[in-house]
């Protein structure tokens, strides 16, 4: 059913413009739609930025949102994808007490099994980094939290689609 809520990832190709983040977030805010995560970065095209936004809503409504986003003058093109349409990653960093590495042997195993990586170790703390799918990160968080986490932060989702988005051809067509 297209009125049932589900997770959608939105890819927006835009001109590089400082005001645009404001315009795009206002579209969600006005309609009381909570943004689960938001990432902005350069894209595969020179001078074109890419927003990746994750929201939980119905397909009927995401279609309307895409219309509103594309209506913004400096948005080149916006797409929405289901979980099956994309390959995505999120990443996270944990800061933990260094003593744990010696006191709690299983931490080493957790890091290994979860494909996480130790970024740095010093006398007081060490830092673990992990990229992966949402559930993997949640699992790692759960496993590590029993030992006490000094700091935790997690990035927004970044995603590429399995199918082509034809954005370059679109841009070329415009330049005649």
């Amino acid at each position: 059913m297209s009125t049932e809520k589900q997770l959608f990832t939105v890819s927006i190709y835009t001109e590089n413009n400082i005001g645009l983040l404001n315009r795009i977030s206002a579209i969600f805010q006005r309609r009381h739609i909570n943004i689960e995560s938001l990432n902005t970065s350069p894209s595969e095209i020179d001078g074109v930025s890419r927003f990746t936004i994750v929201v939980n809503m119905s397909e009927d409504n995401i279609k309307k949102i895409i219309g509103q986003i594309e209506k913004q003058v400096e948005v080149i093109k916006a797409y929405y994808h289901t979980e099956d349409d994309i390959i995505y990653q999120e990443s996270c960093i944990f800061k933990m007490r260094s003593g744990l590495l010696f006191d709690e042997r299983q931490i080493q195993n957790i890091i290994k099994e979860s494909n996480a990586r130790i970024v740095t170790v010093n006398r007081d703390f060490f830092v673990i980094e992990k990229s992966g799918r949402k559930e993997e990160i949640e699992l790692l968080h759960r496993e590590l939290s029993v030992f006490g986490i000094m700091q935790f932060t997690r990035s927004g989702r970044i995603a590429v689609t399995k199918d082509e988005m034809k954005i370059s051809t679109m841009l070329q067509a415009f330049q005649h």
């Binding site: 006005r30 219309g67 594309e70 415009f174």
Partner: protein, 577 residues
Amino acid sequence: MDTKTIKKEAINTQTTERISGSEAVVRCLLEEGVKVLYGYPGGAIMPVYDELYKFQDKIHHVLARHEQGATHAAQGYARISGEVGVAIATSGPGATNLITGIADAQIDSTPMVCITGQVSSHLLGSDAFQETDIVGISTPVTKWNCQVTKASQIPEAMAKAFYIAKSGRPGPVLVDITKDAQFEEFDFKYEKCKGVRSYNPIPKLDPTSVAAAAKLINAAKKPMIVWGQGVSLGQAEAQFKAVVEKAGIPSAWTILGAGAIPTSHPLNIGMVGMHGNYAPNVLTNDCDVLIAIGMRFDDRVTGSLSTYAKQAKVIHFEIDPAEIDKNVKTDVAVLGDAKESLAALLPLLEEKTHPEWHQKFKDLYAIEYEKVIKDDLHPTKEGLTMAEVLKEINIQTKGDAAIVSDVGQHQMIACRYANFNKTRSNITSGGLGTMGFGLPAAIGAKMAAPDREVISISGDGGYQMTIQELGTIFQQKVPVKIVVLNNEFLGMVRQWQQLFFEKRYASTEMTNPDFVAIAKGYSIEAQKVTKREELKDAVAKMINTDGPYFLEVCVEKEGNVFPMIPTGASVSEVRLE
């Protein structure tokens, strides 16, 4: 000698000139063909005003009495002419005072360019005197906006502003220019904007969708059109009329659509929406094909969506893809410019007359006439009705006037009863419902169309929201005709209090000043009418006066506007009393 460099220099001296950013602003306006702009000076925009002074023989700056008035005047200018309206203000309070007009222009798709001064760039973010983040504030209500901090950015920003404001679905844009950018000198060169790569103002017409629309229309037994402002914005009146006439389709309008075909046209079946006509509202829920043209299914038009035209196939002709399926699910969407789409549709249509279907509209009109219209136009009670004032204006202007209404009961009465022979004649705040819009909008309309009779019709409430613009009329000698329909109430709110709040008239009764004396204070000829017998002569006096004129008509205090679709009810549940 190196001929290459000489050549290059020769080109440079021809095409660029060293001027200040502030002069560039005015030169850009001239390049865009702007003849009039409305505004109010102040510190952060003074360099531009200094240039407006120097260029006063080429461009006419109209000093409004409040920046909101300047925006509405620019809107009135744009609405009647189709040209871009321009408003200009200083930073801080000057800029924030523009917001109501900008929001109004955004929701009513009015092309407008607003220019604001801003504190110098090194002060940005320091809470400097009269610094306000106008780009941030105006973002949700502009089609596009930007801040310029260097003189060299001015030509491109201005060119883009005009292009974006008027192309595709029009709208307001704002260009905020820091004071240092206004002072800075640079090599000026102007190039009109011909396109923005991320912006596709007019979607490409898809012939298969036009064919699908034609097929549905040709097979329809009970087709009905609802058209909006898209017809006149797209200058598609002729194509629209041809379609309506060939396919013989009863056609109703939203308030911003009024006049695209004349009120008296036999296929014009009246207005839809909350206070629209009975027949088109009721029969929206009876038609088999509903053809929406350049309209956006506003809630004031549709009433309850869950019971709106559920039986009908819906065709939507629209320039803005975001409007498709936004409120009403369509069976066929025809994206594109109305003129092009309707021209493509016309040859595919079969000639039809649908006499039985038309009869249904006539029958319902007769009911509305008996229950509502008769008493509105030919009252037997003592008090004057708003509608009889409109009737008198219709007679004396022969339906050729542009009616600029404010917001409230008088607005609905004006829309319902004014005769519009010409397109772009119903200038009113539709989407935002901005009280105070009327008087300043009439100034802009009259200045853009000096040959037309422009009549501003306001209530005693809304009139006082921008009454200071009488000063603008006085100073500029704008010959607008100002009618105030005085019921000593915020009438529309009072009507709701009567119907839905058991007559608890909370803060809707008005103790009014001597309006005639106020007008006379601005040297505007003025008259007050309290009796039916005086009305005809008073309207004649107003129309025959060369300059501006003020006419106050004291109407019945507790008159109501019917028909009415109560909020949340279905269009077919429209009440006649």
